[in-house]
Amino acid sequence: MAYTTSQPQLGGFLSRLGFGKSARKKNAVATEEMKRVQFTSPVLPYLFLFPQLAVIFIFFYWPSVQAMNSSFYLEDPFGFGSTFVGLSNYTDVIFSSEYQSIALFTAVFTVLVTFLSLSLGLLLAVKADRVIRGASTYKTLLIAVYAIAAPVSGLIGMMIFDQHVGPFVKMMSYFGWHMQVGLNYYDTAFAMTVVAVWKQIPYNFIFFLSGLQNVPVSVREAAMIDCRSGLRRFWTVILPLLAPTAFFLLTINVTYALFDTFGIIDVMVKDKPANNPVTLVYKVYADGFRGNDIGGSSAQSVILMIVVFVLTIFQFRFIERRVHYN
């Protein structure tokens, strides 16, 4: 497979932790990974590893452990010590109706963004794979906006959906929809979803297109002979071959919608999250950084960590089995 990315690797990593089916073939995996010829040295490998490990321990493991630790404490907002409160930070968070509605919005937002950006990316990739004339122009135009940062796309989105100058708002007012992004909950949610999808399409397009171009010509020709309907050919031949790409992109898109949309949301709600939809990550930030509720924010961090963990394991246990890697 020419487009292996970090996720299949993660699969290998998880399977060695004991998840998934390849756990039994542990030894075979280990020998496959090792080079036949290697250096041996008592010090050198540690020397080479040291900078990376040092950074990871200080800036990854230490904060992660601290998050778990402080999620069990109630911190005094003025910095006068902290009290152990057991699981009450967690129960406070989980049973608050505000948290529940934010979690619901995050789930809906994630599903919508993932579904829309994946399907639009796939549609454009299929079309771009077919055309010959202008193919490279289309390709350039379709991936150009890939590198635009989340807050910048949030800013552009704000302008397009602006009350006074936004063209989209003017257009919609002819149809009797008076959008009030930033004031009306659903209008803001709509604008956020559009911007988040817009930003993610090029990424999916790049991967689907390179997946499509890796489908061998012989397979396409054989399918051509066997089946006349283009749509059916796509469903039965091309799509299964794209499954590894789609699976990888599913993981990436869910992660994107959960975490990387922070910039879009932060810019679009303009520090007024009161009536506006926000995601769970935004809440972690707002509670911890603005509200100074360290314990509550840490508990939310840990909940998110668990969600990410469960999602990853779920994807590898239940979805990867249905996907055929060649």
Partner: protein, 280 residues
């Protein structure tokens, strides 16, 4: 084989318009004056205020303390982008070299320790990370801006995959010729990784340049503001003003997206290669 239909082109054109129009509109609108935008809305035509707006954004001192210019923010963004990309490449090449080319007892453990970081993005541990940084006294410094972002396994993973695909014969030959670990690394492995390094540099530069949440938390001193941070503060000034400086906001957005977009368009093939073919 397949007859290309008109609808194929139509869908592609609509897709390209949907993706590119907002950017074109942002650029064109930034060349108008704020009052013009306020009365006429966003624009697709070239205005005559291009030089004035961009000169103002780049050189005028703004912010609350009045000592941050757009040019300074561009420089900070560049420092973050380049510093992050270089740091990432150096750290991850060395780590991947140790993991792939050495036989040592802690190899598997180190591998796990590094690759676990793929599971938890920075966003879920922002608060404790911030506290660690403030304990270490690294708030408002370039070190604090760059180094914590290096704590992830992506680069190490790319290089590990690449090193594994390097033919075994190379190391055998080098050893017969008497090359030690350092010589093999510097004189053979680094030169043959050039394309890979370039591709990763591009990806990581864009990633660093586009960082938002971390710089926002780490920098309260305006002289460390990046362009992304600047966008946040221009929006804060905005709330409550009669005629918001739409043109300046757009100009800042254009400055913020220009380098990454240019890099992606110019180095398209490398970029796609780096993203999709990390094992080749």
């Amino acid at each position: 084989m397949y007859r290309i239909r008109f609808t194929d082109h139509l869908i592609l054109i609509l897709g390209a318009l949907f993706l590119c129009m907002p950017v074109v509109v942002a650029f064109m609108t930034s060349t108008h004056t704020a009052a013009d935008i306020h009365s006429n809305g966003l624009s697709l035509a070239w205005g005559d205020n291009f030089i004035a707006t961009y000169e103002k954004v780049l050189t005028q001192k703004g912010g609350f303390t009045g000592d941050i210019t757009g040019a300074r923010m561009v420089m900070n963004s560049l420092i973050l982008g380049i510093g992050f990309a270089v740091g990432k490449i150096v750290l991850s090449m060395m780590a991947a070299y140790a993991i792939v080319y050495f036989r040592f007892p802690m190899a598997t453990l180190s591998f796990w320790v590094i690759f676990t970081t793929l599971l938890l993005p920075l966003e879920v541990r922002i608060m404790p990370s911030y506290q660690v940084m403030s304990d270490l006294g690294l708030l408002n410094s370039y070190t604090g801006l760059i180094v914590p972002l290096l704590a992830s396994a992506t680069g190490t993973f790319y290089f590990r995959q690449f090193f594994k695909s390097v033919p075994e014969e190379l190391l055998e030959a080098a050893r017969i010729d008497g090359a030690g670990p350092f010589k093999f690394f510097i004189d053979i492995l680094v030169p043959i990784s050039r394309t890979m390094i370039a591709a990763i540099f591009i990806i990581m530069f864009v990633y660093g340049w586009n960082q938002y949440l971390w710089p926002m938390m780490m920098t309260t001193d305006e002289s460390f503001f990046t362009l992304m941070r600047g966008i946040k503060s221009i929006l804060q000034v905005w709330v409550g003003s009669n005629i918001p400086d739409y043109n300046e906001a757009f100009a800042l957005a254009v400055l913020a997206m220009l380098p990454p977009v240019a890099i992606v368009v110019i180095f398209q093939s490398w970029f796609i290669k780096g993203l999709t073919e990390s094992d080749k």
